[in-house]
């Protein structure tokens, strides 16, 4: 906002604060969102939260369940094409959420997205990233990850990478709808992962995908303590849930659950 007059510059932080508070109240009104801190504690450790991406509201929910102090130091990484396309979006994206805006279109890039994210981490902030790269509108639980997460893990190996599963938001606001349907959403935080000493890119990406998917449908129910993130054994993660609870498929938006979920269920 280089064109801002001093008066505007003075009032903007207050507006951003109020807008942020209003967004949190609205998110809670619609989704009664609950943070499920399964694998980590909600503390000020510097982290990269990587989450599934089904809706524009995903990072809002994640942001809402973070305690205020952590929220102020946590920046979502978002597409510049979307968040710079109008002045309202620019205000919300830049001022309210303090996003790290990256150019998704390779040909128009002037800055490398990974470099931008590393700079934000070096500034002491935590990040929210969506490694699928785009919104998942398919029936699959997850799209294949892009490699950005690996590059972050490689360049800043000490920072915790925390998988975060956001459930139900795709039912609240399916693609193309304007009015949200109030439904209860859960944001589940898994155990942090790090890049292994000899781990190559492909192996790490697969491990990160599985760590996130393990938190997915049927797993954010209370009685699921035994999440195994051990992927070396080659088996699906144990869900620690009885098969009877799969009947209702309450966490999946579609009765035709994907093949990934089905295989997980058999494994339980």
């Amino acid at each position: 906002m280089s064109h801002s007059t001093p008066w505007v510059a003075r009032i903007t932080p207050l507006c951003a604060y109020l807008a942020g508070a209003a967004i949190v109240v609205f998110a809670r009104f619609v989704t009664a969102v609950r943070g499920n801190w399964q694998g980590i504690e909600p503390n000020s450790t510097q982290r990269v939260y990587f989450a599934n991406h089904c809706s524009h509201g995903d990072f809002v929910l994640l942001w809402t369940v973070l305690p205020v102090k952590i929220r102020q130091r946590t920046r979502p990484v978002a597409g510049a094409d979307y968040w710079l396309s109008s002045s309202l979006r620019r205000f919300i994206g830049c001022r309210v959420f303090n996003s790290v805006l990256v150019e998704r279109n390779r040909t128009q890039r002037t800055q490398d997205p990974v470099t931008q994210m590393v700079q934000a981490l070096d500034g002491g902030d935590s990040l929210i990233v969506f490694p699928e790269g785009t919104r998942n509108t398919t029936d699959a639980a997850l799209l294949p990850f892009k490699s950005g997460l690996y590059h972050l893990a490689f360049q800043r190996p000490s920072i915790e990478l925390v998988p975060v599963w956001i459930s139900n938001l795709n039912r609240v606001l399916p693609k193309g709808e304007v009015i949200p349907v109030p439904l209860i959403c859960t944001v589940t935080f898994g155990e942090a992962i790090h890049l292994g000493p000899d781990e190559d890119k492909q192996a790490f990406i697969v491990r990160a995908e599985q760590a996130l998917r393990a938190l997915g449908p049927d797993l954010d129910v209370e009685a699921a303590p035994g999440v195994s993130l051990n992927v070396d054994s080659g088996t699906s993660p144990s869900l620690g849930l009885s098969s009877s609870s799969n009947q209702g498929s309450n966490k999946s938006q579609d009765p035709n659950t994907s093949s990934i979920e089905s295989s997980k269920r058999e494994a339980s």
Partner: protein, 315 residues
């Protein structure tokens, strides 16, 4: 009882004393526990704290009169519906129907109740929402699980909105000699049904042996249910002075309400077990969700409303 507020203040005073005693017992138990507070005691104290919040909110709503009570139960319906629809099979093609359920059916039902239009609020959801919902779902497309989805949505509306709205509807009854004291009927219903839940829990913990329906809820026992219902009926009879009823009629109504409340808890437990969840939600610490706390009131309210309307209303 010249001042119509006196009985309500007396009742609130009694509830306050009960809560203070419960809070003291809870704190003493937590301090005396040999190996620090246990999960059961923590849960008990969380429940007692939540009771304080609920009683205070009810008190504020009562001070707000009819409008306050209608808004309170309207918000409860909204929260309960949100919990219920979360556990259904609805899909993206139900979006319009669900938007209509939350943002049209809920407010219209409560405005009709506030307005006191008995002829419409008593059929609005069973007839008009019943016809509108499947139309909206059909217009949007898929046939997959159509009947299941439509039936689930209608059931959710009947339980979470229609049944719940019969609590504030008690304010619209026309009972000679009881003018200006209608909130006492709500206080009576809520106190009798909720104290029955608490007493069933207490009797069950003390003497419970024989499960009623093991698959539904291991904590619901014959001893707990009989003890809770009978003792709550006795309390209901003792509260006759709040109401236009004779002590005997008060005992009868309290008995019907507590039995309906017990059965309502059983039915809603069956749905939870089918969906593989322990609680409907998480917003009321220690209790679970709104439906977990309201289940018995939801089943008791319409029956209580119609019995009172038939026997005491003159309009």
């Amino acid at each position: 009882m010249s001042d119509p507020q006196t009985p309500l203040l007396l009742l609130l005073g009694c509830v306050g004393v009960v809560l203070i005693v419960a809070t003291l017992i809870g704190q003493v138990l937590a301090r005396r526990a040999p190996e620090g507070p246990s999960l059961v005691i923590d849960n008990l104290n969380a429940r007692i704290n939540a009771w304080w919040v609920m009683v205070i909110l009810m008190g504020i709503a009562f001070l707000g009169g009819k409008t306050g009570v209608v808004i309170l139960f309207g918000l409860c319906s909204f929260a309960a519906l949100r919990e219920f629809i979360t556990l259904t099979n609805t899909q993206r093609h139900d979006h319009w129907a669900l938007v209509a359920a939350f943002f049209i059916v809920v407010p219209v039902q409560y405005i009709l109740v506030w307005y006191g239009w008995y002829g419409l609020y008593s059929i609005f959801i069973p007839v008009y929402a019943f016809l509108l919902m499947p139309i909206l779902a059909a217009l949007r497309g898929t046939t997959e699980n159509f009947l299941v989805r439509v039936a689930e949505t209608q059931w959710a509306l009947m339980i979470c909105v229609f049944c719940a709205s019969h609590v504030p509807a008690l304010l619209t009854l026309d009972i000679p000699g009881f003018e200006g004291q209608h909130v006492l009927l709500i206080a009576y219903l809520v106190v009798v049904v909720q104290i029955s839940d608490v007493l069933q829990y207490v009797w069950g913990k003390l003497y419970g042996k024989t499960p009623i329906a093991k698959k539904l809820s291991p904590s619901k026992t014959v001893e707990g249910a009989v003890g809770g219902i009978l003792s709550a009926t006795a309390i209901g009879a003792a509260l006759w002075w709040l109401t236009p009823f004779t002590p005997l009629a008060s005992a009868g109504l309290a008995f019907v309400c507590t039995v309906m409340g017990f059965l309502g808890g059983l039915v809603l437990s069956a749905i939870k077990r089918d969906r593989g969840v322990k609680d409907w939600g998480h917003l009321i610490a220690g209790h679970g969700g709104f439906i977990d706390r309201l289940d018995s009131v939801l089943f008791a309210a319409p029956v209580f409303f119609h019995l009172v309307r038939y026997a005491y209303d003159v309009s």
